[in-house]
């Protein structure tokens, strides 16, 4: 068992991969709590796709792909904030327009690249085992910055997410805080691309947070649980990827999904299986429990 656990760690690429996956798992899970609570799953997915033109441009210019992705994601995040704050256009419409435009621009730019670009496919599907030392540093520094801001502004983000009207009457800059949250989301997505890729980053944002939401009814424990689930999924997913020789990003996301399904079915009192057990017990007891919505 121990050799089974240690063996992958003897490889340098596996050490860097695990470190990157853990950082990304925790980061996505924490920021993802706001994505889940404010129903921004579509936005998260859109931002992930919107980095494509930035990546393509950086590739064409021979610059760092992550920095290209970062600039594109922040530009789109600010653009969504700008269009939806003018009032005439709803946020999800603004997202739809900018998301499609950015994705198309990315496709057009990539089509000008003649050779098959391995680096670009890594951005699309993620390749945590290809993480370099520089990437690891970049991920670490950006991840810490995002987590520190989320921790410092915990109270402010809670306020604007739960009750923006109170936020305004208390004279907090609600629009600024919302845009800041979008920028943090953009940063999170960019540092996660290397690990899980454009297609799967939304899952890493949403799944651990949604699982934690089923288990607790307060924000702070929800964030801690979500972080734990994110880290666990990354770790298990990576080992599975190593031993079964499957794509790492997919393995990580599928592990997180499995955790979600288990919790959804078996969570005490509210899970599907518990409801089924109550129904089987039948009689007045079961009916009462069903009517009152608690106890068994």
């Amino acid at each position: 068992m121990i050799t089974w656990l240690v063996k992958p760690l003897t490889y340098g690429f596996m050490q860097r991969g695990l470190a990157a996956a853990l950082m990304v798992g925790v980061l996505c899970a924490v920021v993802g709590c706001y994505v889940v609570l404010r129903s921004m799953a579509f936005l998260g997915d859109a931002l992930a796709h919107a980095v494509l033109p930035g990546v393509a441009l950086a590739y064409l210019l021979g610059a760092n792909l992550l920095i290209g992705a970062l600039i594109a994601a922040i530009a789109v995040a600010l653009g969504i904030g700008f269009f939806s704050r003018r009032g005439r256009i709803k946020e999800d419409t603004a997202i739809g327009i900018l998301f499609a435009a950015a994705l198309s621009l990315g496709v057009v730019l990539i089509s000008t690249i003649q050779t098959y670009a391995v680096d670009l496919t890594h951005i699309l599907f993620g390749n945590v085992l290809g993480v370099s030392g520089t990437d690891l540093w970049l991920t670490g520094v950006l991840g810490v910055v995002v987590l520190v801001v989320v921790a410092l502004l915990y109270k402010e983000f809670l306020l604007v997410s739960f009750d923006p009207v109170l936020g305004t009457t208390l004279r907090f800059p609600v629009g600024f805080l919302r845009t800041l949250l979008l920028i943090l989301l953009a940063l999170t997505i960019v540092v996660s691309l290397q690990t899980v890729g454009v297609g799967l980053v939304a899952a890493m944002l949403v799944t651990p947070g949604a699982t934690a939401y089923l288990l607790t009814r307060r924000l702070f424990p929800m964030m801690l649980l979500s972080a734990g689930i994110g880290a666990f999924s990354s770790l298990v997913g990576l080992y599975l990827s190593f031993y079964l020789d499957v794509a790492s990003g997919g393995a990580v996301v599928l592990t997180a999904t499995a955790v979600f399904l288990l919790v959804f079915l078996f969570v005490p009192r509210r899970g599907l299986v518990w409801a089924g057990v109550r129904r089987l017990r039948g009689g007045r007891e079961g009916q009462d429990a069903g009517l009152c919505g608690e106890g068994d």
């Binding site: 609570l37 009207v165 109170l166 307060r218």
Partner: protein, 265 residues
């Protein structure tokens, strides 16, 4: 009963407020003295909610100015608390009753700072005043409508406001909550908190409030109930919605709970 010679705590001078491009309030001038309790009455669309929203910065004031303690609006970050008619919050958000009431302290805490023991004491006291101490640990989504209303009143108290604005706190709530609001008004009197409450219930306005503001997009009348709630003023404010009978006036309000006026007028 507040004295007319007290310094005006809330001073509105010729303010106009627009909502979605059409002006709702025009040229409103009034002074509310220190610790006064004012009932704001008027027909639907009179601008009662608009007035409150303008006072807490939710709607821009287009003309005129508002002074609180002689300083312009916005200079005081937290001294005006507002309880909307219906809270538009996400009821599935993972926050407890105590968490929501603590949000009332955020303005005083300022950026980044965490709640201190004194904030927790104030939250506990606010919960107690509204009789919801036993709900402190419950998620807000699990509460009844009346309980939710009391949570938001407790939050407004936790703000330790100098001016408290309540939009229709008596509409669509259970008797216990209505009683809790009336008790709260009594408790606020010795604390010298200035209160403005919008209501459809003219009897309640006359019986429980020292002052009444009769509003219909501008000030129709403002002062003690006997001087404000006269047939002439009511007819002016409510127009065709008033039916005059021998023993008094009946307001026929098309959409909202009917307000009636007894024979004393």
């Amino acid at each position: 009963m507040p004295n007319e010679s007290d310094p005006a705590r809330l001073d509105l001078y010729r303010i106009s407020v627009a909502y979605n491009g059409t002006s709702v309030l025009c040229d409103v001038t009034l002074q509310v003295p220190h610790g006064a309790q004012v009932a704001v009455v008027g027909p639907n669309g009179a601008g009662k909610s608009t007035l409150f929203k303008a006072l807490v910065g939710l709607l821009p004031i287009q003309r005129g100015h508002v002074h609180i303690h002689g300083r312009s609006l916005g200079a005081h970050q937290d001294c005006v608390a507002y309880v909307p008619q219906r809270e538009e919050v996400d009821w599935h958000f993972p926050v407890t009753v105590a968490d929501v009431v603590m949000m009332g302290r955020y303005g005083r805490l300022g950026w980044v700072r965490r709640p201190r023991p004194v904030d927790r004491e104030i939250v506990a006291r606010s919960l107690e005043q509204l009789g919801i101490t036993d709900l402190a640990g419950r998620p807000v989504g699990d509460l009844s409508g009346g309980q939710q209303q009391r949570v938001f009143l407790a939050r407004a108290l936790a703000q330790e406001p100098h001016i408290l604005l309540m939009d229709e706190p008596f509409t669509g709530v259970d008797v216990a909550t209505q009683e809790a609001v009336l008790q709260l008004l009594e408790q606020l009197k010795p604390a010298d908190v200035t209160v403005m409450v919008s209501t459809h219930d003219l009897n309640l306005a006359a019986a429980r409030f020292g002052r009444v503001l009769l509003l219909n997009r501008r000030v129709v009348a403002y002062g003690v109930p006997e001087q404000v709630l006269t047939p002439t003023h009511i007819k002016e404010a409510f127009g065709g919605q008033v039916l005059f009978l021998d023993e008094g006036a009946v307001i026929v309000d098309r959409c909202c709970p009917t307000g009636t006026l007894g024979g004393s007028l």
